[in-house]
Symmetry: C2
Subunit: 192 residues, 2 copies
């Protein structure tokens, strides 16, 4: 009888692991981040339209930013307000249109402009724990943005929880407030 339960337990464990981590970050042997092809089935966090952290004007129709996070990292955040090691975010930038089909005003999403990723991997990125990646249109793999890139200064300085802009993800902001994991310097700038 013990063997029966053991086998059943093994089956359960195997399935549970398969369904929970189908697409945590995967790297090639030479350190490139493989394109996470199923990111549209991850957990959606929020979208912005034409967001801009500087006052400079932008040209042309504004872009939508859609942010997704891998489900296993999301569930850990919902419990603790912290990001576990091997968290992976995807930022999908899409073009927008205003007139189309029966729509007369405002903006809806159209084709992809770019796909970017952020990965927390403490061993791989000892210089700040997070690595940033921009995929070429071929969506195969990406080398890490060099550490001189502005992401490596802006995210830790301005992200509400670690390097992440939780202040712009309303469902996570509630959790971080409840768990007390907001960065004090950022929390002070947010309206209650």
């Amino acid at each position: 009888m013990k063997r029966i339960y053991l086998l059943a337990a093994i089956a359960v464990t195997a399935i549970s692991q398969t369904s929970r981590t189908p697409s945590a970050p995967h790297f090639t042997a030479d350190g490139k981040l493989e394109f996470p092809a199923d990111y549209r089935e991850w957990i959606y966090l929020s979208s912005g339209l034409g967001m801009n952290y500087s006052r400079g004007a932008t040209e042309g129709p504004p872009s939508f930013d859609n942010v997704f996070v891998h489900p296993s990292a999301y569930h850990e955040f919902m419990k603790t307000g912290h990001w576990p090691d091997l968290t992976i975010f995807v930022l999908e930038v899409r073009h927008s249109a205003s007139a189309g089909s029966i729509n007369k005003a405002g903006n809806f999403q159209t084709g992809i402009s770019s796909v970017q990723a952020a990965v927390k991997d403490i061993k791989r990125f000892p210089d700040g724990e997070w690595g940033y990646f921009g995929f070429a249109d071929s969506h195969v793999s990406a080398v890490r943005v060099p550490h001189s890139g502005s992401c490596y200064t802006c995210h830790p300085a301005n992200g509400a929880v670690e390097n992440t802009f939780v202040q712009f993800y309303p469902t996570l902001l509630e959790v971080a407030r409840a768990k007390g994991t907001l960065k004090p310097s950022v929390a002070a700038t947010l309206d209650k």
Copy 2:
């Protein structure tokens, strides 16, 4: 040995069913749609900002519309371009802000304005197959919008696939084109 495999198979089946249909539409005994509390973990389709199907002006900051569909319905659509019976969509309407934290321009999402749902249930809604629901702020359950509501004329007339606005969900639009399931009257209005 057969018993061992049988038990393992039962365990596998139980888990698989639990993970695939945790929240298909559930109705109370008196026909109200129960609030799908986990919809933020469903599949995200797209967002709009300030979308308007008429030319009338709107007041105040524009709202974001986030659209989610239950995973089992999404996977069926990706295979066939059709919505299975018991498909459930959620439309989450959120307020927007422009200035906040380090953001200077454009719009990001803030609190919930309303949550609405659409359910395909051929037996329950023989008069058009789809039912529409608007949840009160308590997010408990909702009675069906009466059949005189404009949703029951606008959706079937203008939705690109059945009653759904696939023309505004770019990842699904590609699938519907490939599967040939776009409504011809709507397809003719879309730019190729």
